[in-house]
């Protein structure tokens, strides 16, 4: 803080963000990488195909169908490698959203309302974008 007109994050917030953001990112990333690796290893165990037939198998598995959550969980329990990898991809996409949510909660807790409103705006925008289904 360098004067009455200044409205920056304070040093404590900056320090918390620099310490906890990488930890948050690392934990979610580790979970995603574990699921993706398990999915690939299980798929290798079930497949002895060569390159071209493997690609063809993958093409055929691209059913372009959304998996309802209950169906996804059932397929994971059955050891379906595609379902396990899909869950890993879902977890991976949560990384940036979790980071924005974490920033919002931190700013709110620290009563840094200017930056809390910035992050709240981003969160609302992202949710709206997902509902519209065309962001990114």
């Amino acid at each position: 803080m360098t004067g009455g007109m200044v409205i920056p994050m304070n040093n404590a917030e900056d320090r918390i963000l620099r310490v906890w953001t990488p930890i948050l990112l690392r934990v979610i990333l580790a979970a995603a990488v574990s699921l993706l690796s398990i999915g690939l290893l299980v798929s290798l165990r079930h497949s002895n195909s060569d390159y071209s037939s493997a690609l063809e198998t993958i093409r055929q598995s691209f059913a372009s169908r959304p998996r309802p959550p209950e169906s996804l969980l059932r397929e994971i329990a059955e050891g379906n490698p595609i379902a396990i990898a899909t869950l890993g991809l879902f977890v991976l996409t949560l990384v940036p959203l979790a980071r924005v949510s974490f920033c919002f909660l931190l700013f709110l807790k620290q009563r840094s309302f200017v930056f809390a409103s910035f992050t709240a705006y981003v969160l609302v925008g992202l949710i709206l974008g997902m509902l519209l289904g065309r962001i990114g």
Binding site: L17, P22, R26, F115, G125, L132, R134
Partner: protein, 275 residues
């Protein structure tokens, strides 16, 4: 099957490495690499590229944020502009001509490549302008011998305007727009190139993450392609984030200019052929 997975991981490793060093995200490299070298269908390559951008952002951000290369305050403020642009793009989709937008994008990339070549890295402001000072956007990055180098930030409205355009392009064309983000910070707001690259890496995951969720929920991502790509890109991005502090800025800028020209050519090709 093993050959395919190893090839996908290898290609993604390179894309993640280059993407995290440049701040471009790796999406622009992964689509042609998957289609040309791995013969992956285009639709699957596009879905995998979105996942690649999220993985690059997450993998690289761990080290960049911890070591102080990412300007968190600048990222948070500019994300408002990016998200606004992306939502506007979502509403305008179908109304605006993609050919015109792709041509415009290609011209902006070429112009930015020209300005990047002319820019001298010694010309960094040491203090922020009034608005940036008010928001406390100035920062510092690790220098030699454990010291830290302070820098100022300028022209937030100009940077935010270009960020809004980056978001608009994301919403309309389905691209990450990492290049525009780096340009906004490097050339308009006068942040150091490495800080611009690290901050862009941090930001690109947000809009790409939302887009990837939509793609996944619709079933438009091929998991057995996207999974090895995400793993390779994450490893490449982590390696890139370790190298960035030691990278020579001149080589970094030269690589960035080369990438801008490639993007311009790709966008120009898309505008001309409609592919």
């Amino acid at each position: 099957m093993l050959t395919l997975i190893v090839l996908l991981i290898g290609l993604a490793l390179i894309a993640g490495f280059v993407g995290s060093l440049s701040g471009l995200g790796g999406g622009m490299f992964i689509v042609p690499a998957l289609v040309i070298f791995a013969h992956v269908p285009m639709q699957a390559a596009v879905g995998a590229s979105l996942m690649a951008v999220v993985a690059t952002s997450a993998g690289a951000s761990v080290a960049f944020v911890r070591d102080g290369w990412t300007n968190l305050k600048v990222a948070i403020v500019l994300e408002c502009a990016t998200v606004t642009g992306a939502i506007a793009g979502a509403f305008l989709a179908g109304l605006a001509s993609t050919t015109v937008l792709e041509s415009l994008f290609a011209v902006v990339m070429l112009q930015s490549a020209y300005f990047s070549l002319r820019k001298r890295d010694g010309d960094l402001p040491t203090s922020s302008d009034r608005l940036c000072r008010r928001l406390g956007l100035d920062g510092s990055f690790p220098g030699c011998n454990g010291s830290s180098v302070s820098y100022g930030v300028a022209n937030l409205p100009g940077g935010a305007a270009l960020m809004m355009l980056a978001g608009l392009m994301s919403g309309l064309l389905g691209i990450g727009s990492g290049a525009l983000k780096v340009i906004a910070m490097d050339q308009i707001m006068h942040l150091p190139l490495k800080v611009s690259s690290a901050t862009s890496n941090f930001m690109i995951g947000v809009t790409a993450g939302a887009g990837a969720l939509v793609f996944l929920a619709r079933g438009n991502v091929l998991p057995m392609v996207a999974a090895p790509v995400a793993l390779g890109v994450t490893a490449g991005a982590i390696a890139g984030s370790k190298l960035l502090p030691y990278a020579d800025v001149r080589w970094l800028r030269a690589g960035f200019v080369g990438a801008l020209v490639l993007i311009a050519l790709e966008m120009g090709w898309r505008a001309l052929t409609g592919v």
